[in-house]
Amino acid sequence: MIEPLTYAVVGLAAVLCVAAVWYAARDRLIDDRLLVVAGLVEVGLVVLLVGGLLGLDHIGDTAEKATFIAYLVSLPVIPAGTAFLAIKEKSRWAMGSIAVGAFAVAVMAARLLQIWMSYG
């Protein structure tokens, strides 16, 4: 379950990143459509957090396990935080921050998957 879900999250985060850049370039502020995408990323990350914690035994090495947990816990904070800032601070810069946050989510989720896959 972790694998397809993480792929989906990486894909959605990439969509969110591109969309936010597009919004910033067109000087558009956050709207429901973008919030839905951010919300989907967030839901995916929360499910991933629960699923990842339940499946921790899959990862043998303790250090890697700790890294995995650190990523799992950090990830959901990012889209929630950037969306909150974008609603509070209505500017194109806030859209840029959603893009940066989404990029970080995509990279971190990909790293998460890399650790998971290394244990077959």
Binding site: A66, Y71, S74, I78, L85, S91, G101
Partner: protein, 149 residues
Amino acid sequence: MAEPRPDRRALGGPGVLLVVVYGVLALAATGRSVLQISEYFDRAPLAYLLSAVAAVVYVLATWCLARGGRWVRVGVVACAVELAGVLVVGTASYVVPSAFPDKTVWSHFGQGYGFVPLVLPVLGLLWFRKVEHDAAAAERGDGLAPGPR
């Protein structure tokens, strides 16, 4: 949050972007630091203590950027510490590599993080300076427009 608008707003405009980049770096530094200290502290105590210090400073800088107001001064100090840290540790990691067997956020001038730790404090300092400048201009009454939002 119905608090009065602080006179030195740091969050507006590019500040919000800085908050996010700082926030992500703070998360990454804290995560790595907790991990290093709890899992294998004995391997490189100096490097791991530095990681912890870096993490605390990044969290502090993020907070100062987000809050603005009287936190601007604290933020300037935090950014200055980061800049000094990345320069000193970056240089040291090349000169005495044996002291840094494992990576920290600051070693090799933040190479492991795309040199973001090297660039960020400079941007932070520039931003805080602009915030201070705008606030001073507003106090004098000649700064009607507090900069681009």
